[in-house]
């Protein structure tokens, strides 16, 4: 008994202490070049950063050197240089971000104590210290954008260097960044210059405050980053590791180098393990690394499989992944809501690890595919995520569905579990609010949406549905070829929605798409197709009173009996706002069918089909392949003329059984 007690005490003592932190081996230097081949982008904004992470207090002390070039042929830059200070979104409740979000994002509330902020301690252009001359353009007291005054204008083709130093407090993990316990996900962490946009010669700054439903926009460049972290921490970061040394004080300095990227993010955590695999891509292999806590190993395997598949599929469909490494961070479950599901160049965070996500429920894989896919749609095609969020989120969603279907089959691409199946795009449409109830068009700036739901439904779901519908309209192969061409034409540039549609139109032989694009992307609502009525009656000669006077004759059913043929009438209607040409399949009792086409781009909101047939009509189905995904309610697209109660009877029987089960629990 005494021995047992002693053993218990020892076990309790061991269990109660975490022990000294485990020193991790110094990571191996990556041998691969940061990007394959020649420079891909203009490399206008190049950063050199040195950051020391205080893991106890979740603080960063850093210096930054920005070398920024005003492109040749652009307008002169005068007055100021605007920088994003994203971390100030979490400084207090007065920031634009907190005002708009109400302190809640993706179901996670901002911690009432774990605020985050960034303080610029020095800003120099040349020898001039400008830190006391900084201004915050707001609005209000918002400090997520700061203007650095310029003494001299920056001429086209001229390069300027800005030296900055800053201290930063990370927030408790929220809206993509921060800490949770020892886990640190560090994104949007350094002062980042805005982007010059507009017609050549008339550019202006695009440097919006950090809005709640907005993501990011930046120029491509080269990043050289030194990170000083405890030697017990595992680090993952954008780019390739080019230097690693122990500092002799239980810290180490890790040097990263990245090319042709427009952001740099990193993760530090002492408990992470790493699992690697290889994606085969034209031009060279890509090493895929999944960082995970040991208890998440089973999910890490699923993320690795999905990550490799995503890189291979996106590379094959659009453009080979040009960087040698993809890091996928699988945040601890209690940090996943705040840090999970975010994309950065060559580094993404995934999410959805949960017991109910059984194999067959592909939601974790979907998150990984979506985030990896962002390395094309925003990582390479760096559209303005704040002003045209659909151009990366929605277009990426469209591509994700193709990848999911290739991996898991069309029918069960999202869920294939215990007899229940769901295809990605159709499932998301079903889960979303009807498009007619979303009061903002797809092409709305992120902060112009009425609420987060409207932002999500228009930006992700309706865009995906509209693109799938457009694909059906112009043909699958031509549309996919046009998408590929768009990626090739605008990789490492800043495409806009106008560029996107112009590119598609050019690739599709110059055909006018505006009749669909305008209402679908820049108007509210969707299609509202339905079989309004359908009937078939036996055909017979006209009955009633025929002739006048003495010639008057009453034709009765006996005199004009039903013949062999059937007279049928079908009315199709569309009360929506987006016209879509559709096939209508008519099925008959003798097993035959015929297909009608309604191209209602310019001929009203209803379409009558009248015909005679030797066999009566049994079913009418609009869009039999279920491809018009912008249609809100597919249930009323399919009508059978004679009711068949077998399905409702089965449902009733099932309900009776479970009702009786409840009766046996609560009664007698």
């Amino acid at each position: 008994m005494r021995a047992l007690l002693a053993t218990a005490v020892v076990i309790a003592a061991c269990g109660g202490s975490d022990g000294p932190p485990r020193t991790r081996p110094l990571p191996s230097i990556d041998k691969q070049p940061a990007v394959r081949g020649a420079p891909r982008s203009p490399r206008l904004a190049n950063y050199r950063l040195h950051a020391k992470l205080d893991t106890a207090n979740h603080k960063i002390v850093a210096t930054e050197t920005l070398t920024w070039t005003n492109p040749t042929g652009a307008s002169r830059v005068e007055g100021y240089l605007p920088f994003h200070l994203y971390m100030n979104a979490f400084k207090n409740e007065s920031s634009v971000f907190m005002q708009e979000s109400g302190g809640e994002m993706r179901g996670v509330r901002a911690s009432g104590t774990g605020w985050g902020w960034i303080d610029l301690t020095s800003v120099k252009i040349g020898d001039a210290e400008l830190v006391h001359k900084l201004t915050f353009p707001g609005p209000g007291t918002d400090q997520t954008v700061v203007d650095v005054p310029l003494d001299q204008p920056i001429e086209p083709g001229q390069t300027i260097t800005v030296e900055l130093a800053f201290d930063e407090q990370l927030p408790e993990v929220f809206a993509r960044t921060g800490y949770k316990g020892t886990f640190h996900m560090i994104g949007q962490w350094f002062p980042k210059i805005g982007v010059r946009t507009g017609e050549p010669g008339a550019e202006t700054w695009a440097c919006d405050p950090f809005h709640a439903w907005s993501e990011f926009f930046a120029d491509f460049g080269v990043y050289d980053v030194e990170l000083v972290v405890p030697d017990s921490f595992v680090v993952a970061a954008t780019g390739v590791l080019v230097g690693a040394k122990d500092n002799g004080d239980h810290t180490r300095t890790l040097g990263y180098h990245a090319e042709d990227v427009h952001d740099f993010a990193w993760m530090a955590d002492p408990e992470m393990e790493v699992m690697t695999g290889t994606a085969k891509v034209e031009g060279g292999d890509v090493e895929v690394r999944v960082y995970y806590r040991p208890e998440q190993e089973a999910f890490a395997r699923r993320h690795l499989y999905a990550g490799i598949a995503a890189i291979e599929q996106f590379s094959a469909m659009y453009l080979p992944y040009p960087w040698p490494i993809m890091s996928i961070i699988d945040p601890p479950p209690d940090a996943a809501g705040g840090a999970g599901g975010m994309e950065y160049p060559t580094l993404v965070t995934t999410a959805a690890d949960h017991a109910i996500a059984r194999p067959g429920i592909h939601v974790p894989e979907y998150v990984t595919i979506h985030e990896v896919g962002h390395n094309w749609f925003q990582g390479m095609l760096a559209s303005n995520e704040g002003r045209e969020a659909w151009l990366d989120e929605g277009v990426n969603e469209y591509a994700d569905a193709i990848v999911l279907a290739k991996l898991y089959g069309e029918r069960g691409s999202l869920i294939d579990w215990m007899g229940w199946t769901a295809e990605d795009t159709h499932a998301l449409r079903a889960a979303a609010a009807p498009m007619g109830e979303v009061p903002s068009p797809i092409g709305t700036v992120s902060w112009g949406f009425v609420d987060a739901d409207a932002y999500g439904e228009a930006t992700y779901l309706k865009t995906q549905a509209a693109l799938r519908t457009l694909e059906m309209i112009v043909g699958r192969d031509p549309f996919r070829a046009a998408m590929r061409q768009y990626v090739h034409d605008f990789a490492f540039k800043h495409p806009t929605g106008r560029d996107f549609f112009a590119s598609l139109q050019a690739s599709l032989g110059g055909q006018d798409l505006s009749w669909f694009v305008q209402p679908a992307f820049y108007g509210i609502g969707g299609s509202q197709l339905s079989v309004r009525s359908a009937e078939c009656t036996p055909k017979h000669d006209p009955r009633g009173v025929i002739g006048d006077g003495k010639q008057r004759k009453i034709i009765t059913p006996e005199l004009a009996p039903d013949g062999e043929a059937w007279a049928c009438s079908v009315i199709i209607s569309d009360t929506g706002t987006v016209p879509v040409p559709v096939d209508i399949e008519l099925r008959f009792a003798d097993g035959t069918s015929q297909t009608e086409r309604w191209d209602h781009r310019d001929n009203g909101h209803w379409f009558p089909i009248r015909f005679e047939r030797s066999s009566p009509l049994t079913e009418v189905e609009i869009d039999p392949k279920d491809e018009v995904l912008i249609d809100d309610d597919p249930v009323d697209n399919h009508l059978r003329l004679e009711p068949d109660p077998s399905a409702s009877t089965r449902a009733g029987a099932r309900a009776a059984f479970w009702t009786e089960t409840a009766m046996q629990v609560f009664g007698l």
């Binding site: 949960h354 009323d636 003329l641 009733g652 059984f657 409840a662």
Partner: protein, 310 residues
């Protein structure tokens, strides 16, 4: 009451006694079961009519019933009122059964206690038993609602405490263990409360002829004390619930992947479900009869002495 009847009896004796009663009064078992099945069937029929009126011409619903999750969500979005109506039909059937139970369980207890012979005498005993205790059972149900409130509080607190771990569970044990731990206080209190209510009802039936002053409140308090003092009562009831849960989960597990389509499949499914319900009902009947066996060993409540003025 004989000395033998006052002996302490165990779970085995209660189960055997319950089994004997159930097998002896198969007509009563089947009769009450038929009432229950008819009520559930009527609810199912009503639900089928509601859904049929909305979807009999809509083949998308066929796909929903066949396991297409997207189609199911689309159908719910298409006609939410039909699904709400179906839900409330089910709830109404359950509530109706609860009310009917206040009569039926009185009949079952009366038969188990009086052990009548012959169909006519059994029917008379059942009807008289149910009728004579109906109102006092209603009062008992009203009083017991306070206890049900305690169960609900335990449920909310328990699940609230488990929510954090369940939200971040990575494995099924990681999900189910906190869930069960969270549910445990409510389950324990619930089984205790429901068992006490059963014993209060049983005593109201058994003592009715001799202790007509025994009211719902006193019977409930006595039952709460009795069940707390006699773990065998709780164990016996818990065993009944365990069998109920195991049989139901076994069916759910076995039914996975067997769509049982077509007319033959539908008939087979109906028979299987009816059989399953009958088994569970038989278990419940056996438990009720066993409770009478134990109740008969309880000392009767003290009679009130009424002093008459001379």
């Amino acid at each position: 009451m004989s000395a033998a009847r006052r002996e302490r009896i165990g779970v085995g004796a209660m189960i055997r006694a319950g089994g004997r009663t159930a097998s002896h009064y198969t007509g009563t078992v089947l009769g009450v079961f038929v009432v229950q099945a008819l009520l559930a069937g009527a609810a199912g029929f009503g639900i089928a009519q509601v859904l049929g009126s909305e979807f009999a011409k809509r083949p998308r619903f066929d796909e929903a019933v066949s396991g297409d999750l997207t189609a199911l969500v689309e159908c719910i979005k298409h006609a939410p009122a039909a699904f709400k109506a179906s839900f409330w039909i089910g709830v109404a059937a359950v509530l109706l059964w609860v009310v009917a139970s206040w009569f039926l369980v009185g009949g079952v207890y009366a038969v188990a206690h009086e052990r009548p012979e012959g169909k006519r005498e059994t029917a008379r005993c059942f009807g008289a038993g149910g009728a004579s205790t109906f109102l006092v059972y209603v009062r008992l149900a009203v009083l017991a609602s306070v206890l049900h409130l305690v169960v609900m509080v335990a449920l909310v607190l328990g699940l609230g405490a488990a929510a954090e771990r369940m939200t971040h569970a990575l494995t099924l044990p990681g999900l189910l263990i906190p869930l069960l731990v969270g549910l445990l206080p409510a389950i324990v209190i619930g089984v205790y409360v429901w068992t006490a209510i059963d014993y209060a009802r049983a005593e109201l039936t058994v003592r009715r002829p001799t202790h007509d002053e025994l009211g719902a409140f006193r019977a409930l308090v006595r039952a709460l004390v009795f069940v707390a003092r006699r773990p065998v009562a709780l164990g016996h009831a818990a065993l009944g619930w365990l069998v109920f849960v195991v049989v139901t989960l076994g069916y759910v597990w076995a039914a996975q992947g067997h769509a049982m389509l077509g007319t033959g499949g539908a008939i087979a499914l109906l028979v299987i479900r009816l059989g399953l319900s009958l088994v569970r009902f038989g278990v419940k009947f056996t438990v009720l009869a066993g409770q009478i066996e134990l109740t008969e060993t309880r000392p009767p409540p003290a009679r009130r002495v009424v002093e008459q003025e001379s």
